[in-house]
């Protein structure tokens, strides 16, 4: 569902992404680990079509992101580190707006169902986003993805800044989506959460994918060790 073939992005003299080959199938959660500047966000930006690749190709459902921008965006949902919704609108209004501009129209009860499925409590549906915590905003982001019926989910450090409970809830939501067949690519620094939810884990450094594992084939301590070794940290 999410594929990159020799995806490369060069800014001036600097290679932000170097020949990245990645594949995330339906029902998989792929966690990209790496330090700041490793190329995680660049990968997501390329998959979203926000920037042009220098070479290589990014595919969503076997369609080139840059040649079929509108079609691929119909199939994917995106949740950034800080999900900035419209603070003067309520949760249900934000959901209605983002669904509406994507040409998906829902009744109020349907919108409420998406919010419930995303784990948001009913009493906050009609509260303005300005009163929401980061965790609650991320849940609205999940509701937007649910409403969109996204086949691919791109997450850019979504659990950064969340408390453990909210982070855990978010992880459970991802697993729920995974069971529905959504292919998820999550860029994160959070090794623990990656180990908890990922079906596959990749470690990036200097724009290159250095290591790849199956999530269930590696322990948290080993993951940490490999990560630190890849980053050339001395423990």
């Amino acid at each position: 569902m999410i594929t990159t073939n020799n995806l490369t992005k060069i800014y001036g003299e600097q290679k932000a992404l170097d020949q990245l080959n990645l594949r995330v199938n339906q029902g998989e959660i792929y966690c990209l680990l790496g330090a700041n500047g490793a190329g995680k966000t660049t990968t997501i930006n390329l998959l979203l079509g926000f920037i042009k690749p220098t070479s290589g190709i990014a595919l969503i459902d076997n369609m080139s992101v840059h040649q079929n921008s509108q079609e691929t965006k119909k199939k994917l949902a995106y949740i950034p580190e800080n999900l900035m919704l419209y603070s003067s609108l309520t949760a249900i209004e934000n959901l209605d707006y983002f669904s509406g501009i994507s040409k998906k129209e829902f009744s109020k009860s349907e919108l409420e169902t998406f919010l419930i499925d995303a784990g948001l409590q009913k009493e906050v549906f009609n509260k303005r986003i300005s009163t929401f915590s980061k965790g609650m905003r991320q849940k609205v982001g999940i509701a937007i993805a649910l409403a969109k019926d996204a086949k691919a989910l791109l997450l850019d450090e979504p659990t950064s800044g969340l408390d453990p409970k909210a982070s855990n809830e978010f992880g459970l939501l991802l697993q729920k989506l995974c069971k529905k067949g959504v292919a998820t690519l999550m860029a994160t620094h959070d090794l623990f959460r990656a180990k908890e939810v990922a079906t596959s884990i990749g470690i990036m450094k200097d724009g290159k994918l250095k290591e790849q594992f199956k999530g269930d084939k590696i322990s948290l301590s080993k993951l940490e060790k490999v990560y630190l070794n890849t980053m050339d940290y001395k423990s």
């Binding site: 979203l48 079509g49 995106y78 900035m84 003067s88 609108l89 209605d96 707006y97 501009i101």
Partner: protein, 472 residues
């Protein structure tokens, strides 16, 4: 997408109190400016009414005196003011030549604060008093009083800038643009819709506030809906131009701060700089000759002709046999010589006066031919026209007053040179002044504004077809 943008843009504008704020601001500035303009117009109207009333009262006294004289009574008034003397009528009982304000005069002061709204031409006054050489191009009038035109030309663009400078950049800076851009929509179309909706809502606010204010202050305007609709159409075309500029800047410039600086810069250029440069250009290319020179030459000419008034009168009567009768009892006095000399002065001064008038016309023509550079100029000139206070209106008035003064003199000269007394029967035939306004249309101004806006919008629309990418 439009349906949802429409629904939620309105909610956003209401909740962020933009709509309420704009209503309050526009009600205050429109209210104050219309009230201000109305006060000025009322003052002009009252002045004209007072002048006409005074003429009527004087006429009653004049007719009573003539009647007494005709019945053989002796009247105790100075010899030179006895109203059977046509020159006394010509000098002491002049008519009011007024330029009455139009229905929309309150919207723009125009040249009204520079020139008189009425004149009483007499037989002995010269036409140079009517020479409006101080009349300037409409550019200078941009720095005028706080009237509705000032609010529309100056303040509305600033409100539009404040309302639209960061429509795109704020989304970018807050981070919500990334979420928007991840939806299957074209970002540039989305931006066009957002700005289009802001134009729509500001237009609604403008129309409703101006309508409320006009209903309160000048409801009679609605009896002539064409004028009201013209005012609205003109202003909306001007607002559209500023929204187009905001759209272009939103697309091509980056941060909110840069957008604001760019738009304020354009405001300075279009509203202040271009009119000022055009004004300077007019003065440089077509400099006005010295007015002092004209006055000195006029004095010298007067002195010269005064010294040979008898000779001038002979020449004048030779040229105007209709005034020369064979009546041997006809006597010639001061006024005979004066009228004849005035004619000569007028003819001799014509080339100098023409120099002034031609330079002024050249300046005005230059401004007119280049006004499309600044929509603010087009707007100011059109509002002046709607108000009936434009340069052309005053020029038209000046010409009509000069013609009327000539008619007034000619009418009374006939009495003078035929040694006829002015009688009560002649009163009804006294020339009267009624200003005839030129027909005007601001359709071309509206079309020019739209044309400028569309030609600016086109590059933006070309840009719309390109894929949107975040800054790399």
């Amino acid at each position: 997408m439009l349906k949802y943008n429409f629904k939620y843009e309105l909610k956003f504008l209401l909740r962020s109190r933009w709509i309420q704020l704009l209503y309050i601001i526009l009600l205050i500035v429109f209210g104050f400016s219309v009230f201000n303009g109305k006060q000025k117009v009322d003052k002009i109207k009252n002045t004209i009414v007072a002048a006409e009333k005074q003429v009527k009262e004087n006429d009653i006294m004049m007719l009573k005196l003539i009647d007494s004289i005709e019945q053989g009574y002796k009247v105790s008034v100075p010899r030179w003011t006895v109203p059977t003397n046509p020159m006394a009528i010509g000098n002491y009982h002049p008519r009011v030549a007024a330029m009455k304000p139009l229905q929309l005069s309150f919207i723009s002061t125009g040249q009204a604060d520079l020139y008189t709204s009425y004149i009483k031409p007499t037989v002995s006054a010269d036409d140079y008093a009517l020479n409006f050489t101080e009349m300037t191009s409409p550019i200078q009038l941009l720095f005028g009083s706080f009237d509705l035109a000032f609010v529309i030309v100056y303040l509305i663009p600033l409100l539009i800038i404040a309302f639209s400078f960061n429509v795109f950049s704020s989304e970018k800076e807050r981070g919500s643009l990334r979420l928007i851009a991840s939806q299957p929509i074209q970002i540039n179309i989305w931006l066009l819709q957002k700005l289009g909706l802001r134009f729509f809502w500001l237009s609604i606010i403008f129309i409703s506030t101006i309508t409320i204010i006009l209903l309160i202050v000048s409801s009679e305007i609605f009896l002539q809906p064409r004028i009201y609709i013209t005012l609205l159409a003109l202003t909306l075309a001007y607002m559209f131009f500023w929204f187009v500029l905001a759209f272009i800047i939103n697309i091509w410039v980056g941060s909110s701060a840069n957008n604001a600086v760019a738009l304020i810069g354009l405001w300075i250029i279009f509203v202040l700089l271009v009119p000022s440069v055009l004004n300077q250009l007019g003065n440089t290319i077509y400099p006005m000759p010295s007015r002092t020179l004209m006055i000195n030459e006029m004095r010298a000419k007067k002195l010269e002709v005064t010294e040979k008034q008898d000779e001038i009168l002979d020449n004048f009567l030779r040229d105007h046999p209709e005034y020369a009768t064979n009546d041997p009892s006809q006597t010639t006095g001061f006024y005979h010589r004066y009228i004849a000399s005035q004619k000569l002065i007028k003819e001799e001064m014509k080339p100098l006066v023409n120099t002034f008038e031609n330079q002024l016309k050249n300046q005005q023509n230059l401004t007119r031919s280049l006004k499309w550079i600044s929509p603010a100029l087009i707007m100011q000139e059109s509002l002046n026209k709607l108000a009936g206070n434009s340069t052309e209106d005053y020029e038209n008035y000046r010409i009509q007053v000069i013609n009327f003064a000539e008619t007034w003199r000619e009418y009374l000269n006939t009495f003078l040179f035929n040694n006829l007394d002015f009688s009560t029967n002649d009163y009804i035939n006294l020339p009267k002044f009624e200003m005839i306004r030129d027909k005007f249309s601001v359709t071309s101004a509206i079309l020019t504004l739209l044309l400028i806006s569309i030609s600016l919008l086109l590059p933006g629309l070309v840009f719309l077809n390109k894929d949107f990418y975040f800054d790399e």
